[in-house]
Symmetry: C2
Subunit: 143 residues, 2 copies
Amino acid sequence: MTTSALPIDHSGLEMLPMQECIARLHAARMGRLAFFSDGYPMILPINHGMDGDSVVFRTTIGSKLAAAENEMPVAYEVDGIDADRRAGWSVLVRGDARTVDNPGEVERLNHLGVWPFADAVPRTHWVRISTYEITGRKIVHQR
Amino acid sequence: MTTSALPIDHSGLEMLPMQECIARLHAARMGRLAFFSDGYPMILPINHGMDGDSVVFRTTIGSKLAAAENEMPVAYEVDGIDADRRAGWSVLVRGDARTVDNPGEVERLNHLGVWPFADAVPRTHWVRISTYEITGRKIVHQR
């Protein structure tokens, strides 16, 4: 039996409260972005920042920017996995990607301290995920 | 200047050879699966195994199984991120999800040693990713 007070989903995972999901997004520096490209989903690891409760990230010309310019549906996932303890949690943001074009807003985001690890090519464009849903799950082991 | 002998993509990432991508898939125990659900991409962390060069995973009734039953396009990503060194790599498999229904095949996969960390609910169904493309990227820092 689990002693958790949180609801459990159909697959036996504990559902995290929304505020905890947002706190975990704020604490994380990187995650994985999924979007459609050529009829297939694509997943790319990126570094993100939080502008209030919304996920923002820098990008350069390419498939991520194209997704944003077309305001395509995207998903963004952050997680923490502890393989030794077979433990883990994940938070999933679903929404639409939007380019940030307003110069004042760009200037503000430039001060968020988001510096992609991949820095060989300058990532001068900002994308915001206009959030539709935030959910989180955590593995619980029954003893 | 980078001293890498591997090709560099438009975003300044080193492209990993296919055999190295497959080796990294074999070495990894978990990754993230993306697929479409309700018009938005979904990303879920899962534990996978390799059956030859194809990715297989266990699941239970739910959105992942529904994606496989409908032979939907999926993406599967494994990565290794070292935040302190701002380093990282990722491998991306794109393909179609297929349920594994043949009893002999199921029996064989049952012996791969794939035990999901999330084990509160038995994950008795196997899904195979019928691969369309495998690519890998690595961050290179120019000094």
